[in-house]
């Protein structure tokens, strides 16, 4: 099938699933695992020999051992499971609220020009304000429990969604609108058949950033108050001078963020299949 199109028609073939592809994936995976081992090896060497004293940086092997104990604890539903689960829920709720509110606000600003004109400088100013500065107030308003963490996550994550939604709804090009008009399309038809699909790649760009930012917001919230979550664990580790605990919690946060971000990327590839592949490596 692919060969038939590729021969004399000059049709660009997007990707071919040949034997070479699998071989390349294996090589890439080998390289990536090698990089990790090299990193851990250098870390271990520097700490084991005392070049970096252990009160500044625990040995890689100790961190890995702690990470192993934490993972077992998570799987068996121990105290680490509560921390892991708490942060996960905070990030997910922060993300969902950011997406729902951000798309609504972004679409409203894009569609109602007077509203946009009246509020845009303040949207830009709010985006330029370090929202982390609101953290103490957010604790006062929303308490020490999960709500204040979710609000913090939304405060950080909503802006990329708003800005990208606005860009997406402004992205429809003039000729496409001329085409729809020449076909007698109604306003709703233009919205559903043209403007929303056009905006989708932009929306997903915002969602990807929002997922990462929601994690930042959740951890900041945990620093501010409460006694649960992986952010709280790193704070506690610092107070108790248990650096291996802290690094293990950071590794778990990293893993969470990586997996959640991947889920958004996978959803984007499915829904926005026509978008040219991003230049950022997988």
């Amino acid at each position: 099938m692919t060969a038939e199109f590729g021969t004399d028609t000059g049709v660009p073939v997007r990707s071919t699933l040949g034997g070479g592809r699998l071989g390349e994936m294996t090589r890439t995976a080998t390289l990536q695992v090698g990089t990790l081992l090299l990193f851990l090896g250098v870390w271990e060497a520097l700490t084991a020999t005392g070049v970096i004293p252990s009160y500044l940086l625990p040995r890689a092997s100790e961190v890995l051992a702690q990470l192993g104990r934490d993972v077992v604890d998570i799987v068996t539903g121990g105290p680490m499971w509560t921390h892991f689960y708490t942060t996960l829920i905070e990030i997910l709720l922060g993300f969902v609220f950011s997406v729902v509110l951000g798309v609504a606000i972004g679409a409203a600003l894009a569609e109602f020009k007077p509203l946009q004109r009246a509020t845009f400088p303040y949207v830009v100013a709010a985006n330029a304000t370090p929202r982390i500065a609101f953290a103490p107030m957010i604790v006062i308003w929303f308490g020490f429990e999960m709500a204040s963490k979710v609000v913090m996550a939304v405060a950080v994550a909503i802006f990329p969604v708003i800005v990208n939604t606005m860009a997406g709804f402004a992205a429809t090009d003039r000729d496409e609108l001329r085409l729809m008009r020449s076909l007698g399309a109604t306003r709703m038809q233009v919205l559903w058949r043209l403007r929303i699909p056009t905006a989708l790649p932009y929306l997903f760009a915002g969602f990807e950033t929002a997922m990462l930012f929601a994690a930042v917001g959740a951890v900041i919230g945990e620093f501010m108050s409460g006694n649960a979550g992986l952010g709280y664990v790193t704070l506690l580790a610092q107070e108790l001078f248990r650096l291996d605990d802290g690094f293990s919690a950071i590794a778990l946060l990293s893993l969470q963020g990586f997996v959640l971000h991947r889920l958004v990327v996978i959803a984007r590839r499915r829904l926005v299949f026509w978008q040219v592949e991003d230049s950022v490596p997988r």
Partner: protein
């Protein structure tokens, strides 16, 4: 379907409040099934004239009449870029006109149009590519899909706004022959816009020469080449004479 353009004028108000005359006193009548080209430099109002005929923008003065009794008419539109929706396959793009408008067809009519979309892809030589997405097609193929789309609802009049300007020389020549073949088979009235004099001579029955500031038609040149047109005609004396006629008119009315 014949198209009568009667004393058409268009005045824009620019941002600074200045009045810009985009089109002045354009009158012509186009026979049913005629191939007419508007040729002229940028800013001469070609696209404005086309947009008025296609109903995309209102005229300031004058009017465009379709047919003898001014009844129902459909205008197909092809742009310089293919303007295909990337989330739709070639066939779905051709079918788009059936899905928008105040009364989209349903049931049997919809099925009929589905079949017609397939047939039109066959007509433009892309039957095998119906399930392909626009980004899997070359520039020339994309523009053929756009032509098929403009034909779906059996347009009586086809407006083509520099449809081949973005294509390479070889593809463009091929597309000229393709377009003429489709035009002869479908029998629509074609209004074609270009700034390429050779293209205008090769395609048309008649060329309207336009000049800018204000945009107006300064001459009509009947092209006396036989149909069907063939590539070999391009080198002939008759072809050259027609090209020269248009160039002379341009030089006379437009010195910049």
């Amino acid at each position: 379907m014949e198209v009568t353009i009667d004393n058409l004028g268009k005045v824009y108000t620019s941002r600074g409040g200045e009045e810009v005359v985009a089109l002045r006193e354009v009158s012509t009548s186009i026979r049913s099934g005629e191939f007419v080209t508007l040729v002229g430099p940028s800013g001469c109002g070609k696209t404005t004239l086309l947009d008025i005929v296609a109903g995309l923008t209102p005229a300031t003065v004058g009017e465009v009449r379709f047919g003898s009794n001014g009844g129902q008419h459909r205008v197909g539109l092809v742009f310089q870029r293919p303007v295909l929706l990337p989330w739709r396959t070639a066939e779905e793009n051709v079918y788009l006109p059936a899905q928008v408008g105040t009364e989209p067809p349903a049931g049997e009519d919809a099925g009929e149009l589905r079949r017609r979309a397939r047939e039109l892809l066959d007509l433009v030589g892309l039957g095998r590519f119906a399930e392909k997405y626009p980004w899997e097609l070359s520039g020339g193929m994309q523009q053929r899909v756009a032509i098929a789309r403009a034909l779906l609802l059996e347009a009586h009049v086809m407006c083509l706004d520099e449809p081949f300007a973005a294509l390479d020389e070889f593809t463009r020549e091929q597309m000229h022959l393709e377009l003429l073949r489709i035009w002869e088979q479908q029998g629509f009235t074609a209004i074609f816009v270009t700034h390429n004099i050779f293209e205008s001579v090769f395609l048309s029955d008649r060329v309207l020469v336009m000049t800018p500031r204000p945009g107006r038609v300064v001459a009509e040149v009947e092209i006396d080449l036989p149909r069907p047109r063939e590539k070999e005609m391009i080198g002939t004396d008759v072809f050259g004479a027609n090209v020269r006629k248009i160039r002379d008119v341009m030089a006379e009315h437009w010195s910049e």
